[in-house]
Amino acid sequence: QKEVEQDPGPLSVPEGAIVSLNCTYSNSAFQYFMWYRQYSRKGPELLMYTYSSGNKEDGRFTAQVDKSSKYISLFIRDSQPSDSATYLCAVPLFSGGYNKLIFGAGTRLAVHP
């Protein structure tokens, strides 16, 4: 089983829709959860991170962690065409004395006007 599983989509929504992006993870010891956004032909950029359970809000974006079900979500309110990108969830994995960031497969999102 992969450490992080993510539905690759693609997901196509109209402008203004609420978008829900989801990942599941396997290791209950994970503490930090991150969402990266990757525009076409660019490198990923950190969008949000959360620690442990609960919600974190930043403008139109809300990151949510449910540790009991090992489920992480990213919600986008009032989605815009500029939100069209690939969204990757990520968790730090401690291995061999160092932490490395493990990414989900990424979900491609298209927001059409």
């Binding site: 032909r41 004395g97 160092y98 932490n99 990424g106």
Partner: protein
């Protein structure tokens, strides 16, 4: 100023050739990485260096050899290129590789699109 820069941006080559990709970061970070992203956008870690020392070496064919001449540079040399090596290779850096406090994000370059014909 570009924080993490990779060259070349595109690389098209024949099977069996040897090629190198260069990466430089001007952020003063201690830790650098190489990631490979396949056609399905799956991003997988390959190597990591901390202050010029190799700290992460995933199950990667030994045709791939990273080199870090100093902590601001991490190059990737690939011998005997194969069709399956076609992918986008990303260099990344962060302040240090010892822990993740949640806010220690990775800074990625724009990627090198490698196409092996």
């Amino acid at each position: 100023d570009t924080a993490v820069s990779q060259t070349p941006k595109y690389l098209v080559t024949q099977m069996g050739n040897d090629k190198s990709i260069k990466c430089e970061q001007n952020l003063g970070h201690d830790t650098m990485y190489w990631y490979k992203q396949d056609s399905k956008k799956f991003l997988k870690i390959m190597f990591s260096y901390n202050n010029k020392e190799l700290i992460i070496n995933e199950t990667v064919p030994n045709r791939f050899s990273p080199k870090s001449p100093d902590k601001a540079h991490l190059n990737l040399h690939i011998n005997s290129l194969e069709l399956g090596d076609s992918a986008v290779y990303f260099c990344a850096s962060r302040p240090n590789g010892l822990s993740f406090g949640g806010n220690e994000k990775l800074f990625f370059g724009s990627g090198t699109q490698l196409s092996v014909l």
